[in-house]
């Protein structure tokens, strides 16, 4: 087998495992079609820390902690831990903030989009079309020479800070002091979660697999368009396939637009929400999952992206921008349009025909 073929087999196997884990997390207590959702879980974590006070979505999600630590440990073991940063941190922060506005319009990151589709939620299919459209626009900017300039080597301590913060978050989750918020039973998605250790373990496995395979939902579409390279897309497809099969076995599949868990059926805003995510993440060079993994590899720019997602989520709930199962909010619609304009401006001012 050639190395290219072997790489493809590896990412397919990893994707199949991740799809199974994601679905089993729902059995273990996570919200439906939300075994994993990087955006939702960062949003819940923002709520757990009291950065927003939306009572239904407050919980420090161990899956996020696990992904960062899993990637960190794997990168260390493979000698791929490499602290670097300094590539337009403020621009990346802003793009991440905008991406979170899009995620919370749609109610999910690209990872959850795949899981929603695997649960039969056709609204996610509409979102997927928007996601592809956003990436295509991003690719146009990449072809025009869009660049956030190079990174530089950093001290080890710089790259270790975010993983250490994740460990502290886990300690806070276990200790549950009074200043940490937890959604009360029945209050909403934040109250629905698997056992803490199980969630952490699932995160560690997914973080490690994603680190080894460079799995990325945005990269999947982008590489096919740019380079006719299907490897990352296969990982994406494998997650969908195995999650669909496990959902079918468990009787979790409900094809349709209505009665979908933590979702609404306004096609335009599902489309535009993920259009924004695809566009912003294409310029960032990776989906929220990939950003978490890279932050574990010592990439400080990705750590800044994680902070942008966290603060973006807090603002979305404080300003009433986040959708709910009832549908999008008027303020959320304005924010999505404004964010698309911001991302386009960032794309324009950072695109220049390549310097030699």
């Amino acid at each position: 087998m050639t190395s290219a073929k072997k790489d493809k087999v590896i990412i397919i196997v990893a994707g199949l495992i991740i799809g199974v884990i994601a679905t089993l997390l729902v059995v273990a207590g996570n919200p439906k079609n939300m075994g994993f959702c990087i955006a939702c879980f960062i949003r819940d974590t923002a709520g757990g820390l009291g950065l927003h006070r939306a009572a239904p979505v407050q919980y420090i999600r161990p899956e996020i902690i696990g992904i960062v630590i899993g990637a960190f440990v794997c990168a260390l073991a493979k000698k791929e831990f490499s602290p670097r940063g300094g590539s337009a941190p403020m621009t990346r922060f802003t793009l991440a903030f905008c991406a979170m506005i899009g995620c919370l319009m749609f109610l999910g990151c690209p990872f959850r989009m795949v899981l929603r589709m695997a649960g039969g939620d056709l609204n996610a299919l509409v979102g997927f079309v928007g996601f592809i459209a956003g990436i295509l626009v991003g690719v146009v900017f990449l072809k025009k020479g869009f660049s956030l300039k190079r990174t530089y080597k950093m001290n080890t301590s710089e790259g270790v800070i975010l993983p250490v913060v994740e460990v502290v978050l886990f300690a806070l989750l276990l200790a549950a002091p009074a200043f940490i918020f937890f959604s009360e039973e029945g209050a909403g998605p934040g109250a629905m979660h698997a056992n803490v250790w199980l969630s952490l373990f699932a995160g560690l496995i997914v973080g490690a697999l994603a680190q080894r395979t460079r799995l990325c939902m945005v990269g999947g579409i982008r590489d096919v368009v740019l380079f006719k390279e299907s490897r990352l897309l296969l990982g994406f497809a494998a997650i969908f396939a195995s999650a669909l099969i496990v959902n079918l076995i468990l009787g979790f599949v409900n094809f349709g637009f209505t009665e979908q868990p933590v979702a609404y059926n306004d096609g335009l805003w599902n489309f535009l929400g993920l259009f924004l995510v695809g566009f912003a993440c294409c310029l960032l060079g990776g989906c929220p999952l990939r950003q978490l993994v890279m932050s574990g590899e010592g990439n400080v720019d990705s750590a800044v992206v994680v902070l942008g997602l966290l603060l973006g989520a807090a603002f979305c709930h404080n300003f009433g921008l986040a959708s709910s199962g009832e549908g999008p909010t008027p303020a959320g619609k304005i924010a999505v349009i404004a964010a698309i304009v911001v991302v386009a401006l960032i794309g324009l001012v950072n695109s220049r025909k390549k310097e030699a």
């Binding site: 790489d7 460079r214 982008r222 740019l226 490897r231 060079g285």
Partner: protein, 66 residues
């Protein structure tokens, strides 16, 4: 000589893809992370080049030969 050090994917691959259009028999590419090293190698190999890698001090020098 293509210097893609410090750049993250997909930029190094875009640079290599643009360069390969000139159709020369040999290129040298510098990157400083594992992911671009893998991605550039994969791209070059799928376009008929053999790739040899030299590592020094966390930086990789890739030699692409037709």
């Amino acid at each position: 000589m293509i210097d893609a050090r410090g750049l993250s994917c997909p930029q190094p691959v875009i640079m290599v893809a643009d360069a390969l259009k000139s159709g020369e028999a040999e290129y040298t590419v510098m990157v400083d992370a594992v992911t671009p090293k893998e991605n550039v190698t994969r791209y070059a190999e799928s376009h008929g080049y053999s790739v040899s890698v030299a590592e020094a001090d966390g930086e990789f020098t890739l030699t692409l030969k037709k």
